[in-house]
């Protein structure tokens, strides 16, 4: 398998002494579907932004496709174009990602930035709009869309760039159940197409359903577990420690008992 990202001893400081990531080592190979799980503030979003070349290590190295990702390196127009065409990032808040006047412009923005020909841009927009069933939204300004529609347009705006790697920050956040199922289907199509997907989430159920590898970030901003979902979800004490599940007593099926719970984590008796 081809290594796409290799992070070694990565530390990211917001300001002196305040870490978002602290000593992270991570390798991502082509075609992997990885869930970065951790409590709020554990550094998941920062790690995703680092993989997308939006923030850079204060210490350690972040390699992408054989090149070290640094601010200076991305100043090189050729490298930047190559990197941006390979990696797409869906932000947690769709509102920040939708900055064009219409949904059509949103979908065309990335391909136009990559310098693609007009016909190719139009073809990609039509194709992705059809796949995501948002043809009816293309003429509308993003502020008139519902939360679920915004998320679809935000995802479509990245898919038109046809990236090899898709980074998604809390993709199921603020989605209604139907949209969540739709999103899982989209990710399944990506898995079938052999593309890499990295999602940051604290929804263990979504992570288990969509990914073959689960990386756990602790509240100390370090990677504390890395394995298959079944391996990681079996580490009950660790998940309790990193604040991904909690334990409380309650009544269920007529009897009072106590066991761990997490976002979407199934009841042990089911």
């Amino acid at each position: 398998m081809t290594v796409q990202f290799a992070l070694t001893g990565v530390r990211h400081e917001y300001r002196p002494g305040v870490y978002a990531l602290d000593g992270v080592d991570l390798t991502i190979e082509a075609g992997e579907h990885i869930a970065l799980v951790g409590a709020n503030g554990s550094g998941k979003s920062t790690l995703l932004k680092m993989l997308d070349g939006l923030v850079f290590p204060s210490a350690g190295t972040c390699m992408a496709f054989g090149h070290e990702l640094t601010e200076d390196a991305l100043e090189n127009p050729e490298l930047r174009r190559d990197f941006r065409s390979r990696v797409g990032f869906v932000f947690q808040d769709a509102d920040v990602q939708l900055f064009c006047a219409t949904s059509f412009d949103e979908l065309a923005f990335g391909p136009l930035q990559l310098g693609l020909a007009e016909d190719e841009v139009r073809r990609r927009v039509a194709e992705v709009a059809g796949q995501l069933r948002i043809e009816g939204l293309l003429d509308r300004p993003p502020y008139t869309l519902s939360g679920g529609e915004k998320k679809r347009v935000a995802i479509a705006s990245v898919l038109t760039m046809q990236p090899q790697v898709l980074l998604m920050d809390e993709p199921t956040n603020a989605l209604d159940p139907r949209s969540q199922v739709w999103l899982l289907d989209v990710l399944e199509e990506w898995r079938a197409a052999g593309r890499t997907v990295v999602i940051a989430t604290h929804d263990l159920s979504a992570a288990e359903e969509t990914c073959q590898r689960m990386v756990v970030l602790s509240e100390q901003h370090r990677i504390c577990a890395d394995g298959t979902p079944s391996q990681v979800l079996a580490m009950r004490d660790l998940l309790l420690e990193v604040n991904l599940i909690h334990e409380h007593a309650h009544r269920h099926r007529g009897s009072a008992h106590q066991h761990p719970h997490g976002h979407g984590h199934l009841h042990p008796q089911e």
Partner: protein, 293 residues
Amino acid sequence: MIPAFAHIGDGSPRRPRSHRSLARRTAETIRQAVAEVLENDEISAAPGLMQRLDPRIKLISIVLFAVTASFIQSVWVLLACVVATAGLAAASGIGVGSFSRKVWASAGFFGLMLSLPATTAWISPGPALVPLGPLSITSTGLLVAARLTTRVAAGAGFGMLVVWTTRWTDILQALTAMHLPDVIVATLAMTQQQIMSLLRTVENMHLARESRMLSAGTAADNRSWVTERIAFTAKKSIKTADDVYDAMLARGFSGAMPSLVRLHAVTRDWVWLAASVTASVVLLGIDRVLMPR
């Protein structure tokens, strides 16, 4: 344990509120602002005279009318321009009453306020109509005020016609086609998105406060809260701007904003432009030749 007073349905009648709180009024104002933007979108998508025009031609003709109005001296000719804006509004499916109210409530009012000092003998010496010493209202002053107010109203009327009959996206595309720098067009595009997003945030903040308040609060408390929220919203907007820029970078933004928009002016547009130039010349001719000085 839920306290007794929090239980629903205790049978006691609700006491009607004597007046709406600041939070409620602000939230309603914001909701109206958002509704107006959405209403503008509907009007601009409806069939009408101005809606059919190429956005570039429309912008050029409206700027031409506004500049012409700024050169006109006669109040009567300026009033004719104001009436013309109302006529164009009617031909574009905009209610004349609502259009005129908005023009006079904003531009007319501010024009009047700005020109009030000019009505006095201190600024505009002349025969006093209302003798108040140096602050006497003079006929010369009234003429100056009427001229300024009608000119502002005519200019604002033309501006509102563009805004109401053109989709925001088309205005941006017209500006792009007219070679306005990319960065300005991009900033304008993002500004509207972010204003709408921030309006919703501010509305929710006010409603969240309202939902936890038992009284309307004192004026001082309200002022203090509003000031704090203004600061919070300003900080949030800076953070949002950073995030939006990151999102642009993530999709390859390198400073340019290429567009797929290709506008095509047709015969109707050129006829309209020729008619606009003719009308401007005729208005200036009437003002300079026929109207008394």
